[in-house]
Subunit: 138 residues, 2 copies
DNA sequence: CAAGATTGATTAATCAATCTTT
DNA sequence: AAAGATTGATTAATCAATCTTG
């Protein structure tokens, strides 16, 4: 990272990359990633289980991505797949006990990291940033 | 993308993803990606050629990533590898004529897209955003 | 041995094609 | 045929290990 003068687009992309790398690095201490934590977060917030399609929708990504993400979470023992009683085409992603524990730890790490990162900005500035980003991304 | 209320960290990550997707989509019309355009940009700004290691440094990424990026650019005919006369361990990435042309087209698309995207913000707001991001990413 | 580049493995995302069930 | 999920291919990034040259 040599460049310090970046125009609009690359300023956003670059800062995002920096934050992502830092949070990712802390989460890796407990075997998590941002992608995995986000999936656990959605499941925890949906009462422990969801069909993969709905998980994809709430993660704002494509279904095939969720298939593979759940593969990895299942390999980690944090999520398991179960049959959907209502529709036999559908498979449920279910949070395991280990998954709940990992989620608690992960959320703690993430919010701590976020707090540290955003301590560079005042409350005012954070609000302003949020507002500008919302305007830009809509 | 259902969520509309995102806290600091995810606001940045999400907006970045949205911008990236939109620019990526336009660049794909001419067979380019942000990663490829960035590499062509560095090469064009360095007088057409650079050792792969230095390319990696200026792209702020790991060397093995550049090896594969240059593989793809070479397959596209936009860059070619050449021997470094000074050091036989080193390989130069050299911009081809097609690479120069693609770069010109790509930069045009990218700056047009950037202009459109950032038309959502006033000059003042863009400046403020840039300032806040710089503070956050240091 | 260290420096430069490559290879192989893994994570993450996409798209297109496929398979099963409705 | 359409919906839900999976598979296989590709892009992009990382890390660890390796090979070549200094």
């Amino acid at each position: 990272m040599v460049d310090t003068e970046r125009t609009g687009l690359f300023a956003v992309l670059h800062t995002s990359g920096v934050l992502e790398t830092r949070v990712e690095s802390k989460l890796s201490d407990v075997g998590l990633s941002i992608a995995k934590l986000a999936a656990l977060h959605v499941l925890a917030g949906a009462g422990e289980s969801l069909p993969l399609g709905q998980l994809a929708e709430r993660l704002a990504c494509v279904k095939s991505n969720v298939t593979q993400l759940v593969d990895r979470l299942e390999a980690d023992g944090l999520v398991s797949r179960a049959a959907d009683p209502n529709d036999r085409r559908s498979r449920l992603a279910v949070l395991t006990a280990a998954g709940r524990k990992a989620y608690t730890k992960g959320i703690e790490i993430q919010s701590q990291a976020e707090k540290e990162l955003f301590s560079a900005l005042s409350t005012e500035e954070s609000k302003k940033l949020h507002e500008l980003l919302a305007k830009l991304g809509r």
